[in-house]
Symmetry: D3
Subunit: 242 residues, 6 copies
Amino acid sequence: MRLDERQYDELRKIEIQAGYITHPEGSVLISAGNTKVICNASIEDRVPPFLRGEGKGWITAEYSMLPRATAQRTIRESSKGKVTGRTMEIQRLIGRALRAVVDLEKLGERTIWIDCDVIQADGGTRTASITGAFVAMTLAIQKLQSEGVLKENPITDYLAAISVGIDSKQGLLLDLNYEEDSSAEVDMNVIMTGAGRFVELQGTGEEATFSREQLNGLLDLAEKGIKELIEKQKAVTGEVIE
Amino acid sequence: MRLDERQYDELRKIEIQAGYITHPEGSVLISAGNTKVICNASIEDRVPPFLRGEGKGWITAEYSMLPRATAQRTIRESSKGKVTGRTMEIQRLIGRALRAVVDLEKLGERTIWIDCDVIQADGGTRTASITGAFVAMTLAIQKLQSEGVLKENPITDYLAAISVGIDSKQGLLLDLNYEEDSSAEVDMNVIMTGAGRFVELQGTGEEATFSREQLNGLLDLAEKGIKELIEKQKAVTGEVIE
Amino acid sequence: MRLDERQYDELRKIEIQAGYITHPEGSVLISAGNTKVICNASIEDRVPPFLRGEGKGWITAEYSMLPRATAQRTIRESSKGKVTGRTMEIQRLIGRALRAVVDLEKLGERTIWIDCDVIQADGGTRTASITGAFVAMTLAIQKLQSEGVLKENPITDYLAAISVGIDSKQGLLLDLNYEEDSSAEVDMNVIMTGAGRFVELQGTGEEATFSREQLNGLLDLAEKGIKELIEKQKAVTGEVIE
Amino acid sequence: MRLDERQYDELRKIEIQAGYITHPEGSVLISAGNTKVICNASIEDRVPPFLRGEGKGWITAEYSMLPRATAQRTIRESSKGKVTGRTMEIQRLIGRALRAVVDLEKLGERTIWIDCDVIQADGGTRTASITGAFVAMTLAIQKLQSEGVLKENPITDYLAAISVGIDSKQGLLLDLNYEEDSSAEVDMNVIMTGAGRFVELQGTGEEATFSREQLNGLLDLAEKGIKELIEKQKAVTGEVIE
Amino acid sequence: MRLDERQYDELRKIEIQAGYITHPEGSVLISAGNTKVICNASIEDRVPPFLRGEGKGWITAEYSMLPRATAQRTIRESSKGKVTGRTMEIQRLIGRALRAVVDLEKLGERTIWIDCDVIQADGGTRTASITGAFVAMTLAIQKLQSEGVLKENPITDYLAAISVGIDSKQGLLLDLNYEEDSSAEVDMNVIMTGAGRFVELQGTGEEATFSREQLNGLLDLAEKGIKELIEKQKAVTGEVIE
Amino acid sequence: MRLDERQYDELRKIEIQAGYITHPEGSVLISAGNTKVICNASIEDRVPPFLRGEGKGWITAEYSMLPRATAQRTIRESSKGKVTGRTMEIQRLIGRALRAVVDLEKLGERTIWIDCDVIQADGGTRTASITGAFVAMTLAIQKLQSEGVLKENPITDYLAAISVGIDSKQGLLLDLNYEEDSSAEVDMNVIMTGAGRFVELQGTGEEATFSREQLNGLLDLAEKGIKELIEKQKAVTGEVIE
């Protein structure tokens, strides 16, 4: 039995509150257990220089944590004057994942900015950010469609992300909280579409390694979790894909 | 009548939700109308180098806005690699104000870090930050007292802040929202104690000036607002000063 | 009696030397006792991006101290790679104050850059900077008028600034030097026009507070000092306002 | 048939030249086709602050490209004043991977710095860096052993990395060059030990997705390549593990 | 005849005003024609980390220009957040030159900070800085000696610097002003001791070259100028070397 | 006899390997004893803003060292976030030197970027960089000529650089290695053309000084070395000047 009394293949309690902040075109507060992330989607009517005149849109993301999202206060990246490698890695990941389920030509020459701000952290902040960001982005796109700005739906599939891992005592685990993540030997983030196809797979041995067989166990677990997450998303966005 | 149907001397709806984030020693979400700020207080068991060995504590603050706290997305200061002058001015102000109502010797050799993160902005973010920060700090100090770490209460008085201003058409106004603030000729932030004494006074003509008589009208209005805010604070913290 | 034998309501010796540096359109060296600031005004024939095509001008300021302006050498901001919060606060203040007494439409689409460089500091550097900057700016504008570039005088009033404060032993004081400023409980900077109207008011309790009555005493003292400063300015610029 | 006439499961020509630079404790120039990386390992007799007094060592890596490693000159990160997200991601990856095959307690309180400098790039620079870095690190450790500084061999297994991908026309491919990488729909980097266990797995759909079946094909291909790379490494280092 | 009616081998008017700023241990305002530099010397009772415990002192310099020292306003290095290559080159040069005429062991474990701030520029700012810095440093050292802190005079010789150049029409020139410097084909800075020995020699063809014979002419001219400068220095410092 | 058994007027072994990196328009690896520098020349079809529309080209250089080019690992400038003064000084020097032997009007509106990356350092890296950069630049220009892009040869003369110095025991020395450079009292870098004219001369006493007579000895020695270097260059480039 896990510390928080979950089964090994059980997600934490997931809540997605839409319209959390009033200004953004799409906004949600996503909670996965004690992890809470504000995901905002903003529409900008132009694209970065490398895409100008290509007739395509772009999706980019920024990720940050409040200093006291964590048990110990962390220094603000604005005070340090630079963004850490971890932050850059996560924001590149979020943007790349969302672009995999959007037809950028149908989006037209506009940029969707995704801001994921972790206000409380308890493990799985990057996967919660992706799962929440997909909803915020979808709400923003639905707004563009309802206003007649977008004629066609550019979203090609659902998208969610989850962590899985291997604990030396408990074996395979779904949706690790901070304490589980800290002691896990192997940590894997899986990003998957509604059709069950991989968008991104990042498995890391933390001073440890894993076998092909263990990999297969982790992927089965992740797939189960992702399906449940996509049901939670649909409860907010309605059916996005016909 | 004001746009949001308030009287000229009427505060916006104030809500202070304690324990908003679980990790910090003190945490509140303060709402003043549509302005929402997460105020967290963290205790660190050491002081900055200039105070070491003096037997005194320190209180310092950081302030930030989420990119979509505003109607138009603003660039993150961490992406720019530097903090703007406005941000620095506000964080210096918050720290200075709180230090005026705390006996730093009674606090002992520890630092209270205040983090004010605006998640939604509609004017008055710096005054809401101060009003919320006082509550978060008080909660953190009460925690230290209940744990027996602090023997004496270092807080010497209540503290709250409010904006007042002069509109060319409507005259004197209490607690300006963003739209009122943008069109005001004169903007003043007043920070006051429960005893009705000034801690800080910042009045600015925006390409305009103001007379001694107008100043007096603004100060009367501010005093009324501050008294009401301190009642809201007491509802959360209880009586802090015997 | 004060340390330098001044009365409580007596300014330090004020000198304003025009044409101190040859390149700028307007240049003065202002001395207030041992505080010495070079104030240069430069004209640039364009405005910042946010004002382009608006038919209005802009005034902006930068402030700096030489490393040995102070008793202990301070590190250069260029060596640190960033400007401190204090510096940003002061340069925003100087620019805002000057804009309050200039009709930016009459100035036309040009920017006045004000550079205040403190070469020797003994308290009151920000108020001396403003008082000197008004003269440098006026000289630069008079040059534009004499060259026929400006048809109308855009200056709407005189402008000067002074510090006042409360000392626990000596009570109210006008024009604090560094030593007085360091021990004062309350420090207030007042920026006022020739017509006696406030442009900016910044009163701060340094781990202390002040009453409404004390505020009134401080403002009376500041008004007296400002009137004397404006006479000093007129001796350099002549009558600026008809 | 591929552009450079390789079979779909054929590595590029791999060369590992030991002792390339004279100063480092371990140094190799690794070539994988036209990709050339200088990998240097440096021993420092202390560990980062978070490990002090723990009796363990640390391995950390830095990665950089010469401006003309690429077809178009790229701006130096030192000129930009900051390291890109891509660079940070790669250097974190290299360090993490090496730490998975070293017993940090046997290493003792010392740090191994790995510097991977790409002097010519044609795809696969991060995997070539890891494969070369393992050799440079091994040479440095062998030097410590031959000097009697290290009593035991801290290396627990061989380590190499390779890229695999899916091309829309050619299907699965091993060891992609720059041109193949640019047009691939799916790109995966696999880091594996001599025992055939995964250390890290990073699969990314580039505006595309991939199925579980495709994943399995990619992993088979990677495993074949890694085995061949480890033979090349052994030719330089000798048998490292008994 | 030169534009300012000087002979080809004639210095501009040199003035050295001692005690210009009150706080520094040594302070001069040096004028060379229209070039004006404040040179301050500060004593710090410790040395940089690389010299600790060596029983030797250190001399280091910083150089800066006010934004309107020049005909066109230049951006502050503190605003840009970095120091230009030109500035770094000059400050390294000043420090190196002064160290050549000071016995650092006799100076003891203390640092002399030299700050050269150009308030008005008309060519030759780096050579004027060195010539003025020698005087400021000497005054600071004399202060240490008069206070009994230094038992022995650590200064081993006088030091001054001058520019010489070759103009395509006028030939060899001593002490170039800004206009002459801009059109010169060859520009050389010479730093020399009272004994006529070189400390530093920097000759540069500006998209031009120069012969050995021309070099000899330039050096003769520089030597003449340096002798005159050292006389000016002695008038301020008295005889420094017995 | 010198440590490496050279005569006082003997160069180290010089090797210039052309076409070292495939992407740049010109590329060499230059070795001077154990000092090894990759020099790449890149052509860009535009000029910096200050030259636009002038019909002239530009040549600029960047210089860097790999962290383990040196006996002790040095921190990367990209990690520090800023370029050191030494680096800036060297890159300004390289660019200036090359521009002295190129007719920038004949080059046309294009920029030649020179990248000098020291992969192994044993003294004389800046002079080896210049000597190698001239060859890389020449190869790039010859490529432009062979492609018919350039009609005329813009190179006006050969260019090479060498260090000379004075050792307290051994006297005058040509081409100092790291150990000799560290103990030399006087260090001079000489940049000279094929016609024997100076382009740049930088002589520095390291806490020492030098006489006119010593200067003449150093210059004779440098001239000898430069002539030999230019022969080495010609073996790679062929005769560049008719």
